[in-house]
Symmetry: C2
Subunit: 356 residues, 2 copies
């Protein structure tokens, strides 16, 4: 089925239309097709497609270029597709409403209605943000066509409750292994129980106190959690191994390497394997284009605690912030919703920044 998007519709209506084209990660084709058709009707934009990722650029020769980026995929449906309005059409409920088709609607509205913004704009609509990093459309674009992402500043329209969220925390996962020696449980004193030994790993986690450093004026809040534990051989065997997987969310004053060293030191008593990690990003809101942006849209900037593609832009040397109408706290829940008013407000704020 071909879907036609009406970019003249108001942001909330366009959000509902976007939600109702299913686009679970890996299955973004029909939505990407619809967005591509809508963008190609706009003569002031140069459109490029890469997989199910679309890039649309103005070419006005302005001294400054900014990226407005959003992912078009959602987590799997959870009885919340298609979308539905409440009786007064103030609140739209459905998968991907907050995370982040409301933001995508704002991008599309600006793309359609701002033929001559005060800065050149690169609109990016990308696939597979909700799944593993190797499939992320923004990553693939930065690898295969980095010239399309060149810019002075980037805004990710991720749900941020209408506030400017600066930077993001890094994340790493590590497997900490307690070792023991197998024995039959009828003679358990012949062995050494690795699960009992793992209690000492959990003691480290229980005693850990989070750092809350202030970086570029924003307060971060670290976290260190066991996210998995497994051990056991059979119902009558003293187990010889128990693995605790921990997730460390670290503030952007620590590099990836520093965070890995910190975890190795903290669990120095056990073999520790770093499973994966991604760096954080400093907010950069004290000066430059991010500070300009924060002043323009107003409100009190706050620290982004989760990891977002802001860190990817940081790696590309592009300052970036999150700013979008959705609510991150309800993202990925069956009851996910977005309110109409913040969608309109975000569009107005960005329009003002790009025109005044």
């Amino acid at each position: 089925m071909d879907h036609d998007l009406d970019l003249q519709a108001e942001g909330p209506e366009l959000t509902a239309a976007l939600v109702d084209v299913s686009s679970v990660s890996g299955e973004e084709g029909p939505l990407a097709d619809a967005i591509e058709r809508a963008l190609r009707r706009l003569p002031h934009l140069q459109v490029t497609r890469h997989g199910n990722t679309l890039v649309a650029r103005t070419g006005l020769g302005k001294p400054e270029r900014v990226v407005l980026a959003g992912h078009i995929d959602t987590v799997p449906h959870a009885g919340n597709f298609p979308s539905r309005w409440d009786s007064e059409r103030l609140r739209l409920t459905g998968v991907g409403t907050s995370d982040m088709k409301a933001g995508v609607a704002v991008q599309l509205r600006l793309a359609a209605t701002l033929p001559e913004p005060n800065r050149d704009v690169t609109y990016v609509f990308y696939e597979c943000e909700e799944v593993d990093a190797a499939r992320n459309g923004l990553y693939l674009l930065s690898r295969d066509a980095p010239e399309l992402l060149v810019a002075d500043f980037a805004v990710l329209l991720e749900p941020s409750g209408g506030a400017v969220e600066g930077g993001c925390q890094g994340t790493l996962r590590a497997a900490i292994t307690a070792k023991g020696a197998r024995a039959h449980t009828a003679r358990s004193w012949m062995g050494k129980n690795a699960i009992h030994e793992a209690a000492a790993i959990l003691d480290v986690l229980r005693a850990w106190q989070p750092r809350k450093p202030v970086v570029d004026g924003l307060e971060y809040h670290e976290g260190l959690n066991a996210v998995a534990i497994s051990g056991g051989v059979a119902g009558n065997v003293v187990p010889d191994e128990c693995v605790v997987t921990v997730n460390y969310r670290f503030a952007p004053d620590r590099s990836e390497e520093e965070a890995q060293s910190y975890i190795r030191d903290l669990f120095a008593a056990w073999p520790a394997e770093i499973l994966d990690s991604a760096p954080g990003a400093k907010p950069g809101l004290t000066s430059g284009p991010a500070a300009d942006f924060a002043r323009a849209v107003g409100g009190e900037p706050r620290a982004k605690l989760g990891w977002t593609d802001v860190a990817r832009f940081a790696e590309l040397g592009i300052p970036a912030v999150n700013y979008g109408p959705g609510i991150s706290e309800i993202a990925h829940t069956p009851g996910e919703y977005v309110d109409a008013a913040p969608i309109v407000a975000a569009e107005q704020a960005l329009r003002s920044w790009l025109t005044r």
Copy 2:
């Protein structure tokens, strides 16, 4: 292929022949066939087959009847099939040598060569001892034809290193659950980490001191171990549940019910589910037929710490002991072996008890 067993061969040779008829649990048919054919050639025995379990009884009208029982199945092969002798034919290596085809060979030798023992004897060769209790041939026989098991005393020829092992410890498994509340790890303080909570369950296990009660003159040694632990939702989620599975091996001065209450009390702070349990059996070596048997075969009786079908006989009201030529400590290992000399010695001791 049909296998013919020569019951006139010496015990060690017969053991090798039995090992070389593969009989992993559930696949005992060919070995049961061979044993049945050999037994049916003996006119002094009444033979009954029940699945792959065989019962052979003398009918001499003696005032006392004893059971000699052994299982014919083995754990799966581990590169240790068929059997092989060392160069001096003193040690036979292979799957099921100790556990417990050496014992089965002793049973068959006695069955073939003692037409008129001093007590009536019921020989039981049963299937599926190494797998779950519902398939155990001795259990199925006790359920379907209990009259075939009526006796004053029973000897299980399980590997006991040639010593009389009295009674057995009971065993139960329970699932102890730590609860929490899910949250994204980027905001972990919004939730409660169930894996961290489970540390307190492990603390109970670490602090636990084993009881070593003396029952009917034999010292037992209890054990309490985590045999499995699991928890975790995803790499970025604070988990809301962590389950620790514990195995309690309890001395036979405690009933199944007492053992269950003990575990519930010990872990009263958490939901505890009893997964399965089996009672122990008191050794009964201070008087009666078990004491007579121990005196007749000599040596120092010791407590059986593992669970065996001795407990099943105890439930049927039949005192029972373990007495066999194998070595329990190497059972189920790839290097499992049995020495020739203890096979001959066990046969001699039992022959003396049944003839003098």
